[in-house]
């Protein structure tokens, strides 16, 4: 494939950049509709309770309240996975976490709606709650969902190869428990939905539902709305305005999206619901806190012989993407390195906490943290450079891994080589001053799932294209731009293929009335799948243009070049074509002569006559020729992953396979303050194999963003719990890194040119995140010799580890949880409930255990 592109591979500003930076672009909360009401949601104050009675009469009577809706107004269950339809828009019989949705008030303004929430009388019967996943797995009674024994949503047990034999062959074995605490997306834009029923222009009755929502998945939203509201999908239109970040937090149907619609239906008026930041934290769907019991065997020569992982994910109160998450955690042990023997036992567990779901690096991140940390330990045990150990275990593509993943393009060797080289790894590793260190880690991710979650044979992406006589190119794509730049990607592919300028291309995206089905922006599938569908659609139209242009230029279509808004005959064919020109010219003239009412008619026709035979046509001329010749000029393209990329046959084999994988290697340089435990990240070298960088500046942005988000999980971000209460439901206390702590990130693009990706492209948005956490952890080890088994590596955890190593004065810095050998999740200190005081909780609720250290009191 030639590198001679005019638009692909060039650093291009996002097509919506100025709209966002000037504020003229509209996000969901910027929208309004005449007569619009504000919806506010009543949330459960209890982690687990039966709803005995809801009385909304007092709220309904409040001046300014138009409607109050509760669970029975829309009692159909739904969920993002077909196997996980366990959610209700508003609780029907039970609430399952503090923050669960109970009722919604639609009122003339926010203050009135909030006042009305206080007037809704709910009688609850509190039930015992489960907060720790390992406790929850022991539950026999008061289950969170009656059909899930032991509160286990799903468990999988996979064996590939012969792990026991593999461990027997190993020279060194490491075994440890790793704990990754819970993180959330913290997208800048809080979720918002505006739902309105159109008045049917023919009957005057409420007709179609139009929902404008901050979503990554308009099609799934349309589908779930149809299910819950019992309306045909054709009567529902979902439009995605600008979205201010998703990271997975908008990749499924979020309660407010359905609540707004049922409130609008009852209120007979448009209703907008915008979450507060606290509600965003309750809606959550972030990365579950995870226990990884990991065992890895290695030979003296550095070859990994076997891996055994037992993973327990604290999934929260509903299924969400949970079944997929727990499968990814196991499946993506493969496809990075060549591991011959794998045993995986995964448990997705329900607890009475907000629901976990998909988050950037879905399912892979916490296991990758454990694995890459353990590999570092093993490298030390066998006395090898950890970078070399990674190179020793590379795959040899094309290949199919032991767990059925097909790997073709594989830029990991170059990724490792680049970061080792740029960071001065060989010269500097182990030779930095005390307290300063380097760490390396790798990661990977899918370029979309080869099997869609909806278990259908339909294409994953379809794209339509229309070109009219004005020379404008309109691409209709279901891809949802959530800030990652998919609109720009689509425009680039169209413009490059057609050889027209970018400004000619208008992208109409993510509007279910206008754009064909695309299953959404998640699992890093958009560039690969929607890009391929775009490419096919554009090639379809280009063929039509080429055949008409070729006729006019009396040559074969394949002799034409489309570039810079001009269609030219390739050089070398000119002479051969010369004799037939006069005839062609008159035919061309007559074709153009039939252009009625066009500005082209006079001047262009005249120009053509003056100039005589041509070796080139302008893009407009070629388009006009094609329309005259073919009639309407439109094309369509779709993409479905190839059958051979869809994985093995074992139970759960559907998750993990992808048409292509991205690869990342990173080196982090950190320093550790040994008196305070504070970790400073000075620089991260991050290389990423994205197949081909369609837009390098955008790829670099994604790499830097991934590193930064990974650094958040590594050092500062953590959802802190106390008996089901989220102690830090806000950006002040949740603490994503600020610009002050953000290190220099040297983003290194590696291009492996995937044989199936559009122009060779693969994903670039998620694969880099997972490497950052272990790279920092390994760098801490290099700096001060402590191995952190629990993330985030907050200063107290690092200091506790340092103290433990030095056998210094014992001091309980982490409330009994040793970060070098954590056994269980830590709760926030203090006490929710004390000797009959505190919120109403069931006698068996963990909050009512008398804490031994819950003293304190007066001076």
């Amino acid at each position: 494939m030639t590198n001679d592109f005019s638009i692909i591979g060039k650093p291009i500003a996002m097509v919506d950049a100025a709209g966002k930076t000037t504020g003229s672009g509209k996000y969901a909360d910027d929208l309004s509709a005449p007569g619009m009401l504000v919806g506010k949601i009543l949330h459960s104050p209890f982690p687990h309770a039966r709803i005995k009675r809801i009385d909304i009469t007092r709220a309904e009577k409040l001046d300014g309240v138009v409607a109050v809706v509760i669970g029975t107004d829309a009692p159909n269950p739904y969920g993002i996975l077909p196997v996980g339809h366990d959610e209700y828009a508003l609780a029907l019989d039970k609430v399952r976490y503090v923050g669960d949705n109970v009722a919604c008030v639609a009122a003339i303004d926010e203050a009135t709606a909030e006042k009305a929430l206080e007037l809704i009388d709910v009688e609850y019967e509190v039930l015992p709650a489960y907060f720790d996943p390992e406790d929850s797995m022991k539950a026999e009674t008061n289950l969170i969902h009656d059909n899930k024994p032991h509160n286990i949503e799903k468990d999988y047990h996979h064996v590939f190869g012969d792990p026991e034999k593999g461990f027997a062959e190993a020279d060194q074995i490491a075994e440890a428990r790793f704990i990754a605490n819970e993180v959330t997306h913290a997208a800048m834009e809080p979720h918002c939905t505006l739902a309105a029923f159109e008045i049917d222009p023919q009957t005057g009755k409420p007709g179609r539902l139009v929902v404008q929502s901050s979503t990554q998945v308009p099609y799934y939203l349309q589908h779930k709305l149809s299910l819950v509201l019992e309306m045909p999908m054709s009567q529902i239109r979902v439009i995605k305005p600008l979205v201010g970040g998703g990271f997975g937090g908008k990749s499924e149907v979020i309660p407010l999206e359905i609540i707004a619609a049922i409130a609008a239906r009852k209120a007979k008026a448009p209703v907008k619901v915008t979450y507060t930041r606290e509600e965003v934290f309750w809606a959550h769907r972030g990365r579950p806190r995870t226990i990884v019991d990991l065992k890895t065997g290695i030979k003296k020569d550095g070859r990994i012989t076997a891996v055994k992982a037992r993973v327990v994910q604290d999934g929260g109160a509903y299924c969400s993407y949970g079944v997929v998450t727990i499968l990814y955690s196991g499946a993506l042990l493969g496809a990075l390195y060549d591991i011959p023997n794998i045993q995986y036992d995964g448990y997705r567990v329900l607890t009475n906490k907000p629901v976990c779901g998909a988050m950037r690096g879905h399912g892979t991140v916490n296991v990758r943290f454990a694995f890459e940390s353990q590999l570092d330990e093993l490298a030390a045990k066998i006395g090898k450079d950890p970078a070399d150990v990674r190179e020793i275990n590379l795959l040899k593509p094309p290949c199919i891994t032991v767990n059925g993943l097909r790997v073709r393009s594989y830029g990991l060797p170059e990724c490792i080589e680049k970061v080792v080289d740029r960071s001065g790894w060989k010269q500097r590793k182990g030779k930095l001053p005390r307290g300063r260190g380097l760490g390396i880690a790798c990661s990977h991710y899918v370029s979309g799932a080869a099997n869609s979650i909806i278990r259908s044979d339909m294409p994953h992406s379809t794209v339509n294209i229309k070109i009219d006589r004005d020379g404008g190119v309109v691409v209709y794509t279901g891809a949802s731009d959530i800030g990652q730049g998919s609109d720009t990607m689509v425009a680039q592919i169209a413009a490059e293929t057609l050889g027209c300028s970018l400004s000619r291309v208008k992208v109409v995206a993510a509007d279910t009335d206008l754009t064909p089905i695309d299953i959404g922006s998640y699992s890093s599938r958009v560039t690969f799948m929607n890009g391929n569908a775009t490419l096919k659609a554009v090639q379809d139209v280009k063929k039509q243009i080429a055949s008409a242009a070729a006729r006019k230029m009396s040559c074969e279509p394949q002799e034409l070049t489309f570039r810079n808004d001009i269609v030219t005959k390739k050089k070398g064919h000119v002479g051969a074509d010369a004799p037939v020109r006069p005839a062609e010219q008159s035919s061309a003239a007559s074709v153009s002569g039939r252009v009625e009412g066009q500005i082209l008619r006079g001047s262009l026709q005249q120009k053509r006559k003056d100039e005589g035979p041509k070796d080139s046509l302008s893009f407009e001329e070629a388009v006009v020729a094609a329309i005259d010749f073919h009639g309407a000029l439109s094309g369509t393209g779709s993409y479905a992953p190839p059958l051979e990329a869809r994985g093995g046959k074992h139970k759960g084999a559907g998750v993990g396979p992808s048409p292509a994988y991205s690869y990342s290697a990173q080196v982090a340089e950190v320093s550790v303050d040994e008196e305070t435990g504070e970790v400073t990240v000075h620089k991260v070298w991050a290389s990423h194999d994205c197949g081909r960088a369609l837009n390098p500046v955008s790829v670099e942005g994604q790499i830097i963003g991934s590193v930064w988000m990974g650094m958040g999980q590594a050092l500062t971000e953590e959802m802190v719990w106390k008996d089901g209460m989220l102690m830090n439901p806000g950006l002040l206390e949740y603490r994503s890194p600020s610009s002050v702590e953000s290190p220099e990130v040297e983003a290194i693009i590696v291009e492996s040119i995937d044989p199936e990706g559009p122009f060779g492209a693969k994903e670039c948005s998620e694969g880099s995140l997972a490497a950052t956490i272990p790279a920092i952890g390994n760098a801490i080890y290099d700096a001060v010799g402590v191995r952190l088994h629990e993330s985030p590596f907050t200063p107290e955890r690092v200091l506790a580890a340092l103290r433990a190593k030095k056998n210094a004065k014992p001091i309980n810095l982490t409330e009994g949880v040793d970060p070098t050998a954590p056994a269980k999740f830590r709760e926030h200190g203090g006490s929710l409930w004390y000797r009959g005081k505190g919120p109403e909780r069931h006698p068996l609720d963990p909050s009512r255990r008398e804490a031994p250290g819950a003293a304190g009191g007066d001076d």
């Binding site: 002040l732 600020s738 107290e796 203090g830 304190g856 007066d858």
Partner: protein
């Protein structure tokens, strides 16, 4: 979360402001920069009928050097102005250093020195939405009868989390308080009660108007060290201010104060005596660190464990004392 409805009072003179206070004190909150009050009002921690906006009273703003008697700082002076004041940087460096660590640049543009002194005490069980607080059964500081951080007791332990007050305590600053009965001047250390809920001695109908930095503590070297997880935005999880005057290689005078680990900013008792007349060395710094750690009583009011925060008071104090001596 909506802002509760209130009537906004916008006096142009201090006298008018006092007049409003006299009339509506029982149901009024004062707003200066609003960076503390507005989020709390949205969380329904305060639902006053009146909000008294001081921002249009010019006499409350500005930094003025008084001949032979130190510097006066108007309560409405922004933290950014304090951070950038050449005069304060030269003569009272501990204050500019502390001011520069407050939150983030945009918040310092809005926030005032008076507001930072009057900052409401903070606790993870208190600075939450109404819905959240219902879930925890409320607490002593607001609407409840249980302290979740010290469950056996009856005292509120919400932590005072301003950055500038420990610096001001070290400087022996006074504050001027004006009310319907006239004005009075008290040492800043008498401004705080040490209780988490009723944390100020100021009466509801009184106003903090000026801060006095005495001539006697001018030109001390000063250091402020703040424990926080992020380098910006965060409130202190522990903070230490140190001022020091040296002569002939000895410490002539020094003071150490803490923030964010007690319901009030506090001077470390015994630190001045321990340091005065000595030559600074590691052991002395460590001894002062131990004193400070004993003064600190951090509880589970914020992120990180109390044990760690107390330990950091020890380390940060040691470092701050050493740095002040090296300045």
């Amino acid at each position: 979360m909506s802002l509760p409805q209130f009537k906004l009072l916008r006096p142009r003179t201090l006298a008018d402001a006092i007049g409003h206070l006299d009339k509506h004190a029982s149901n009024l909150r004062v707003i200066a920069g609003g960076t503390d009050l507005i989020p709390s009002m949205r969380q329904k921690l305060f639902e006053p009928e009146f909000v008294l906006d001081l921002r249009h009273i010019p006499e409350l703003k500005g930094i003025h050097e008084r001949q032979e008697s130190g510097v006066e700082v108007g309560a409405l002076t922004s933290l950014t102005d304090i951070e950038h004041s050449a005069l304060l940087r030269r003569r009272y460096p501990v204050l500019t250093e502390a001011a520069a660590t407050v939150a983030s640049p945009v918040i310092r543009n809005m926030g005032t020195i008076g507001g930072n002194i009057c900052l409401d005490t903070r606790c993870l069980w208190y600075n939450q939405s109404l819905t959240w607080r219902k879930g925890c059964g409320f607490c002593i500081k607001k609407d409840g009868d249980l302290c979740h951080v010290a469950p056996g007791g009856t005292k509120c332990w919400a932590a005072f989390s301003g950055d500038t007050p420990p610096a001001l305590l070290c400087l022996n600053a006074d504050v001027e308080i004006v009310g319907p009965a006239g004005s009075r001047r008290i040492p800043l250390r008498e401004f705080y009660t040490g209780l988490g809920d009723n944390y100020r001695t100021i009466q509801p109908n009184e106003l903090l108007t000026r801060v006095f930095l005495p001539e006697s503590s001018a030109d001390y070297s000063g250091v402020y060290r703040k424990l926080r997880i992020r380098g910006s935005i965060d409130y202190p999880l522990a903070g230490v201010a140190v001022v020091m005057k040296r002569s002939n290689g000895h410490i002539a005078d020094a003071r150490v104060a803490l923030t964010a680990v007690n319901p009030a900013p506090v001077l470390v008792k015994g630190a001045s005596e321990r340091l005065a007349g000595k030559v600074m060395d590691e052991a002395l710094a460590e001894a002062v660190g131990d004193l400070a750690a004993r003064t600190a009583k951090p509880l589970t009011t914020s992120a990180l464990t109390p044990e760690y925060r107390r330990e950091m008071i020890r380390v940060f104090t040691k470092r701050a004392v050493l740095a002040a001596a090296a300045n």
